[in-house]
Chain length 338, copies 4
C-alpha cells in the first residue's frame, strides 16, 4: 500500500500517521519526492481501511499494491477450485458445464417438460426462478415455495441438480433443504447481510456480478461468503450496464481470463441476461467457451412467446441443443468437453 | 405503448397479439408502415409486461409512451407531497432541510456530541449508520442495535429526529420502534423483498438511488413501497458510477428538476457520498439548493481523521455551519429557507 | 417514426405538426391515447431531423422505428459485403483475416523484422502507426511520413498489405498513395470532416468504434463514408469505456452478431487495445473468432519491453503464432479458415 | 511515480529498469514488500511514458503520484488565469460570463435578431454554429463561411464577441480572422492534430470536455494547446455519457470545484447540451453559478420549434433573460456578478 502525503505536513502529523501503521504490525518506508512524500506500507494491508487513511487531510492519495481479498486470491491458492454441485464438478480443466432452464418456474408440468429437454440436449443442471427480482411491483413475482417444489419434482424426474435465486436471508432454510446451487442475483451482489448468512451454510453459491460492479467488488463479495466459512463459490458474469442500447447489457467476456488470473474460483457466463436477445445467445456462448469459461447458464423455454418473464432471451430446446453441440466442438479444441 | 411488428408476420400471429392486448382491456390501433407495422396500445399499460411482449419473435420492439409508475407519478398527483418526519416537513416550496451526522455511529458520546454540533449549526435531523454496507468483510460493519440506541440517546438530548440505514427486513421492528426516517441505501435500492416489507409500515423511507440505476428504476422502487401502502417516500441522489476517477461517483444534479417534473415526491441530495471528498461538499451543496433540491444529507464528524468510516468525505462542524449559512442565503434567493 | 404529443395541444399546433411531415412526403397516422396522442409517421424517415421535431413544446417524445442509416443497413443489402484490401478479401463466410504489427513504427528494420514474423505466423496484413493519437503532448507522436515509408518497405519485402491510422484530412494524398487500408481511430470516429473526405476516395477504410459510442452512432459514421461514395468500409471494435479498472476498456463482443444483423459490412476485433494487456489477448481473440468475427487486428512486437508505445498489450511473435494456430482450429469448427 | 515490480524478477532485469529511470534524470527509491517490490520514482515524471514502463513483463502496475500535466496545473500557477476574449474577461473572482445564442446560424437576420435579444437579456457573448458536427450525414451540416460572416455582422450590430466551433485545422485562418473565441467541440477534444494547430495561434480557445473523457484527459488536451504556446484556454463541461435515459447526457457539476483545485484555467458550463431539454436549463444554470462556475454557455433561439438543430434545448429570449436575472442574484450571494 502506497500513501501519498502532501509536502509541508507537520512533523508530528507525519509521525502520527507512521505510528498508526506500525501499531497494526506494518512496516513503513518513506520516500521524499519532489511535490509529495510517499510511504510504502509493507505487510498484510487487508487490515487497513483505506477510507480511514484518506480522511487525514495531509494524505493526498492511497494506492493498494496487494489485492484487498485473501480467500479468493489465486496468489494464496494457486490451483483451480473445483466446486461440487450434487455430483457435478464445476471448474478445473476438463468439463464445461451447461445449465439450462426457464427464467421463471410457471408450473410443475412446464418445468418438468423443460427439464427433460435440457437433459436430452446435454445440459447438466436445471435453472428456474421461483423468487423473481422484478423492476415493477406490477410484474409477476414468482411462484415462491411452490416453484421450488416444482423444481424438486423436475429433479426427481430427470436427476438434474437444480439452481434457483434466493432474494432474502429468511428463505435460507428452504433453499438449503431443496436447492443444489443457490444463486445470488446481480441486484443482491452487495446485499451484505445475505452474503454473510450464505457464508454460514455449506451449499454451493452462484454469485452473479452486479450490473455496475467492478471485478474487484465482485471478488470482495465472494470474500464475504468465503470468509464466513463457505468456500463453495462459483462466479457468474451476466453483463454490465453501459450506454449501449442495442443490447440489454454489455457482456464482459474479458472477466474470464482475468478471474483465472486473480482467483481460483470457477467462472461461468450467462449470455441470456447479458444480451436480452435469444438471437445473440449462441454466438456469445461459443465465444465464452473459447475464452475459457467453466460453464454457461442459458435460458431455455419450450414456448418463449408465452413465457411469464424474459421470453425474448430464451432459446427453444432445439436451438439449445444445437448450441451445445457446437459448443462441444469448441470445448474439445481447447482440450475440454461439455 | 407502441409495438413494432415485423412485416410479413402471419395474419394469425398478428391476431393473437392484438387479442392478447384486447383481453387486458386495452385498445389496439394499427399503422401499416414501410418496413414495419405498428400497434398503438391505448389504456392503462402499466399492466403489460414488456418482456412478455418482446418474447414474440414477430415483435421487433416495444416502446412505452406512458410511464410504468402510477403512485409516484405527478401526472396523477399534481401537488407536491410533503413528508412528515417526526414533525419536520420534507418537500413543498418553503423549507430546505439539512440532515447532518457521521457516516457511522462510533459510540454514545461521539454521536451525542456531533448531534449537538449539527443542531447548533442549523441542521434539523441527525444521520448515523449503525448497520454499515461495507465492500470488504474485514472493514468495520457498524455497532448494530447498540448504535441505534446511541442515536436514540442523541435524539433525547437534542430533539433532532434520527435517520439510519436498514440493511435487511428482519430489523424492521427495531427501526420502526427507534428510527424516525428509515434509509434504504444505494446497494439495496433493488432489494425488492426489503422494499415490499417497508411498504407495509408507515414510517417515512429515505430511498437512495442505486449507483447505476436509472431514474425510472428508482421511481419504480419507490412505487414498490407506495403500492404496498406506505406513501411516505423521500428520494435521495448520492452519485452514480461513471468512468471518472477524480470523484468517487458523479453527482447527477439534473435529477432535481426531473424528479420535480415526473413525480410529486421530495428529492434530497447527498453530496458527501457522491464526491467522496469533503472539499467538494460545500460547492455541491450550494448547487443542489440552487437547483431546487428539498434537502441535503451531509456527513459531519468532529474528528474526521479518526472516523471509523468515510472520514475523507466528512465536514468538520464549523465547515458544516458555514455551508448552512451560505446555503440559507441561496435558499432565500429562490424563495425558500433552511 | 412515432411522435408522442401532449394531450391538450391546440388544434392548430397539431395541424402544423402533421402538415410538416406531409410536406416531406410522409404519411401521418393518428392514435388518440389516454394521456398522450401519438402520430405514426410512415415513409422514408431518414429525412426527418429528430432534434427539430423535439423542439416543439407540444411534443413529448420521438421514437425511431426504422434505423436512421440506409447504405450500411442489411435490410436493403441482404448479402455480406466483401471488401478487397490489395487482394485480401475481408468479410464473407470463408476466411477470418488476421492483421498483426506494432502499435508504432519505430524504424525500417523494426517494422520489416516484425512484418516477416507476422507473415510467418500466418498474418495476412501488417499494421503499424506512423501518426499516433497520444493523450499526452509529451509522449511519442509517431514517425509520420518516415514511418509510412518504412511500412512501404516492409510491404515490399513481405508482400503484406499495410494498415495505418490517419489523423487528419490533409494527409489523405499520402495515405491514398502508400497505404492499403486506412484506419480511422476511435478518437476520430466522429471527426465528421475526416469522414467526409474519406467518402470521396476509394481506398478501403477501417473504422474503429469510439470509446463511448453506441453501435448506432458507429453505423452512422460508416454511413458518412458510404454516402460520400466510398462503400469500402470495415468496422472494428476496440473496447468501450466503462467503470471497470482491471482492463483498459471493456471489449464488447456482442457487436459481432449485432453488426451481422443490422449491417452487411465486415466486422473485425482489436483485442489488444480493448484489454491493454497481452495476457488477455489470446483468449479474447479465440472468443472473437468463435463469435463469428471476420478478422482480428492484434499488436505484435518483437521486443515489447522496448516498444515506444503500448508494449504492454503486444504479443511476442511466437505467442502470435500460437494464437493463430489455435484460432484456425476454432475457425474451422465454425466452417471458416484463417 | 510508483512502480510495482513482481517478486522474483531477476536482478539484471531490476537493474535495467532502475537504470532506465536514472538515465532520465530521475531518482529511484526501492521498497521490498511482502508480495511485490516497489520503486518510488522522484523527479519530473511527466517525461515518463507509462505505457512503455508497463510493457515490461516484470512490472505489475504503475501509479502516478504527480499529475501528468504541467502548464495547466495549479500547483505551478497558483493564481487564477483570466482569459481576455475581445475585452471580456473570463475567469477570476469577479464576473460570471453568460454566452447565449442559437445552436446553428440559420441566416443573417436570425442571428442578428437573436444577438440583440442576448445582449438585452444581459449576455456578454454570442454563440452560433456555422460548422456543425452532426451524427447523421443527412442532417443539416451548417452554413459554413456564410454562417461565420453572418455572425460577424451580428457582432458589428451588437458589439458582442462571437464564439463558434471549428471542426478541422484547415479552417484556422478563417477562424483567426473572424471569430473571437474558437470552440473545440466534445467530439474533437482528442483530435490532437487540431489541438496542435490551435496551440500555434493566440486566439482564445473554448475546450469542451469529451462525452466520455476523464477530467485528466481533458486537462491533457488543454496541455496540448498550452504546450504549443497558446495559453488562452477556457474549459467547458457539457455533460458526459452515462446509462441514464431521461437526460441526453449527465451534467457533471463536480468538475467546477475540481478544476478550481487542479488547474488555474476558467471553467464554464453548457447546461443546454448536457440536458438536451430547455426545461432543465434554468435550474442547472443556477446550480452551476452556485457551484462556482466562471460562466455559462446557453442555447437561445427566438423560435425553437423552427430551429434547424437542437431546438428542444433552446431557451426563448424571455426565459434566458429571467435565468440571467435569477443567476445574478445567486452570483452576488457568492461575491460575484454577471
Amino acid at each position: 500500500m502506497i500513501i501519498t502525503c502532501k509536502k509541508g505536513a507537520p512533523q508530528n502529523e507525519v509521525e502520527k500517521i507512521v505510528k498508526g501503521f506500525e501499531e497494526k504490525g506494518l512496516e513503513v518506508n518513506t520516500i521524499l519526492g519532489t511535490n509529495y512524500n510517499v510511504f510504502g506500507i509493507v505487510g498484510d494491508t487487508t487490515v487497513v481501511d483505506e477510507k480511514m487513511v484518506r480522511a487525514n487531510p495531509w494524505i493526498e492519495d492511497v494506492t493498494r499494491i496487494a489485492a484487498p481479498y485473501k480467500k479468493v486470491n489465486r496468489l494464496f491458492h494457486p490451483e483451480d477450485s473445483i466446486i461440487d454441485v450434487a455430483g457435478i464438478k464445476v471448474g478445473g480443466k476438463e468439463k464445461v458445464v451447461v445449465i439450462g432452464g426457464p427464467c421463471s418456474v410457471e408450473g410443475k408440468e412446464q418445468i418438468c417438460e423443460i427439464a427433460e429437454e435440457v437433459k436430452q440436449a446435454g445440459g447438466c443442471m436445471l435453472r428456474g426462478g421461483a423468487y423473481k427480482p422484478r423492476t415493477s411491483p406490477y410484474a409477476f413475482q414468482g411462484l415462491g415455495t411452490e416453484g421450488i417444489l416444482d423444481m424438486v419434482e423436475a429433479r426427481k424426474r430427470t436427476g438434474l441438480p437444480i439452481v434457483s435465486e434466493i432474494m432474502s436471508a429468511d428463505k435460507i432454510d428452504e433453499f438449503v433443504e431443496y436447492v443444489d446451487l443457490i444463486q445470488v442475483g446481480a441486484r443482491n451482489m452487495q446485499n451484505f447481510d445475505l452474503l454473510k448468512a450464505l457464508g454460514k451454510i455449506n451449499k454451493p453459491i452462484l454469485l452473479k456480478r452486479g450490473l455496475s460492479n467492478t471485478i474487484e467488488e465482485w471478488l470482495m463479495s465472494a470474500e464475504y461468503i468465503m470468509s464466513g466459512g463457505n468456500e463453495n463459490v462459483i462466479l457468474c458474469e451476466r453483463g454490465i450496464r453501459t450506454f449501449e442500447r442495442y443490447t440489454r447489457n454489455t457482456l464482459d467476456l474479458s472477466v474470464v481470463p482475468i478471474i483465472k488470473k486473480k482467483s481460483h474460483l470457477p467462472i461461468i457466463i450467462d449470455p441470456s441476461h447479458a444480451t436480452g436477445d435469444w438471437d445473440l445467445v449462441e454466438s456469445m456462448s461459443l465465444a465464452a467457451i473459447a475464452a475459457g469459461a467453466d460453464g454457461l447458464i442459458v435460458e431455455v423455454h419450450n414456448n418463449p412467446e408465452k413465457a411469464w418473464s424474459d421470453g425474448a432471451q430464451s432459446l427453444k430446446p432445439e436451438k439449445f441443443k444445437t448450441m451445445i453441440e457446437k459448443g462441444r466442438v469448441i470445448a474439445q479444441v481447447i482440450g475440454r468437453d461439455i
